[in-house]
């Protein structure tokens, strides 16, 4: 159910949710940034009610540092896909040998999308030789969409947003090793009831909308 107006929560959410969440709840107020940046802000005492991270490690850290009230719940998954510019100038055929000698961009291993890509490549026996290891998935998508890069590895939801500029290709095994999204109520939340309601809605009634935006179901 919709939380009451007066109890509208402040939601700190990972940037990849910035398109879908405002459509789901127009009373809550959102602050979007990378998961780590948000964690830093919570550590510094930011007054938030809900924290939604785009990976498990960050949420775990938040829980360990006592920044959460109760247990976080997994609300979605997101699989990695291969994107190429709409005209596919390097004639990439998929997550295979055709990536050799192309200008491939991926995320740096320090960020979740980067570590995931590496795991998938190892499993598929594909050698990744990127020209750039970006700091944010946005930058990977930006470089592919502008044609600067021939291929890139991003989340399915990102690919969906830029569908007229890029073509997405599935990566074998990606659906089985997705990135997980977690939501939790922040300790000493100013709007605890709104927060609880928001997390519950994410895990329940809003699942269909998340799915429509390209997210996968929680596991």
């Amino acid at each position: 159910g919709q939380p009451a107006q007066g109890d509208a929560p402040v939601v700190f959410a990972a940037s990849s949710l910035s398109t879908v969440l405002p459509h789901l709840d127009d009373t809550a107020r959102f602050s979007f940034d990378g998961s780590t940046g948000l964690l830093d802000q919570l550590r510094s005492g930011a007054r938030a009610d809900v924290f939604v991270s785009a990976d498990h490690d960050t949420m775990l850290a938040a829980a360990e540092e006592g920044l959460l009230d109760g247990e976080p719940v997994m609300v979605a998954t997101n699989r990695l896909v291969l994107v190429v510019p709409a005209d596919n100038p390097a004639s990439v055929t998929g997550f295979d040998g055709s990536l050799a000698d192309t200008r491939l961009v991926v995320c740096a291993p320090e960020v979740p999308c980067g570590s995931g890509a590496r795991r998938l490549a190892e499993a598929a026996g594909v050698r990744l030789d990127p020209v750039s290891e970006e700091l944010k998935v946005t930058d990977v998508l930006g470089k592919v969409a502008s044609g600067e890069a021939d291929a890139g590895i991003v989340y399915a939801t990102d690919a969906a947003l830029a569908s007229d500029a890029v073509t997405a290709m599935e990566i074998p095994g990606a659906a089985a090793d997705p990135n997980t999204y977690w939501a939790g109520v922040v300790a000493q939340a100013p709007h605890p009831e709104g927060a609880e309601a928001f997390v519950a809605a994410l895990a329940g009634p809003w699942q269909a909308d998340l799915r429509a935006a390209g997210f996968g179901p929680p596991r």
Partner: protein
């Protein structure tokens, strides 16, 4: 009589510099969705971001003026070894990567920060409020005003101030009625620079103030967010940002010329 005249070859590097700096701006303009501009900018999010940016920039610019003019005066007129040190310290925030600047602010003014903790005890919390945006903008913009104004103050020299003192004017009266009017063009252009820099502030705001629509999500943050989902709107907002900056800088230059 313009001195020795310009060496003719100087126009080549000038043209290259203009090309380097102007062509990318032109590229941005070329890609902008001009036809849909009005419609795009009419959205709630755009309006909120634009109004928030203008309001916070106005506030931080006023603070920059109040703090910056006396600071430039002290740096230009006081003597001693420490002045050089103070000047260097003031310049550093100007060149810090904004994210590092934001981290520094967070460490200091955050609820658990050096100053933030005692302030929080007093019930004052600025993190993640509009006030935090103003602080971040002031932090990055203030040095621009101070540095450009200090140079002008040194150039203007102290002759007129001495003449005023000899007519019986107190230091404050001299400041208000002689010094400030004399360097008015520099104050104007310095103000324009710091306003424009505040308007473009991104990294420090994101890190220190967060990105909450209508509260802390300024124009650059909105552009950053929209880049992924709505490139057209992002570009449209970038054009607005660019236009406001150029307008402010050009207006200050023109005002300064008429005045000076």
């Amino acid at each position: 009589m313009t001195g020795a005249g310009l060496p003719r070859w100087a126009w080549l590097p000038f043209a290259l510099a203009m090309a380097l700096l102007v062509i990318p701006l032109a590229g941005l303009l070329a890609r902008a969705p001009w036809a849909r501009l009005g419609e795009l900018l009419a959205s709630d999010r755009s309006r909120d971001a634009l109004l928030l940016s203008l309001a916070t920039c106005a506030a931080s610019t006023v603070i920059c003026l109040i703090l910056g003019v006396p600071t430039a005066l002290v740096l230009a007129r006081a003597r001693g070894q420490w002045v050089a040190a103070a000047r260097t310290l003031l310049t550093v925030p100007m060149v810090l990567p904004p994210v590092v600047a934001g981290l520094a602010l967070l460490t200091t003014l955050g609820r658990r920060g050096l100053l933030g903790q005692p302030l929080a005890v007093l019930g004052v919390e600025i993190g993640f409020t509009t006030a935090a945006v103003v602080v971040a903008q002031t932090f990055v913009a203030l040095p621009f005003l101070v540095v450009s104004l200090e140079g002008a103050l040194r150039t203007a020299g102290t002759d007129m101030e001495r003449a005023a003192a000899r007519l019986g004017a107190s230091p404050s009266y001299v400041l208000a009625r002689v010094t400030v009017p004399l360097v008015a063009p520099a104050i104007l252009s310095g103000t324009a620079l710091s306003f424009a820099r505040a308007l473009g502030e991104f990294g420090a705001t994101l890190t220190f103030a967060g990105s909450l629509q209508g509260v802390t999500r300024t124009l650059p943050l909105e552009i950053y967010l929209l880049r992924e989902s709505d490139t057209d709107l992002a570009l449209a907002l970038a054009i607005v940002l660019l236009g406001v900056s150029a307008l402010v800088v050009a207006a200050a230059a023109r005002l300064g010329r008429t005045h000076g």
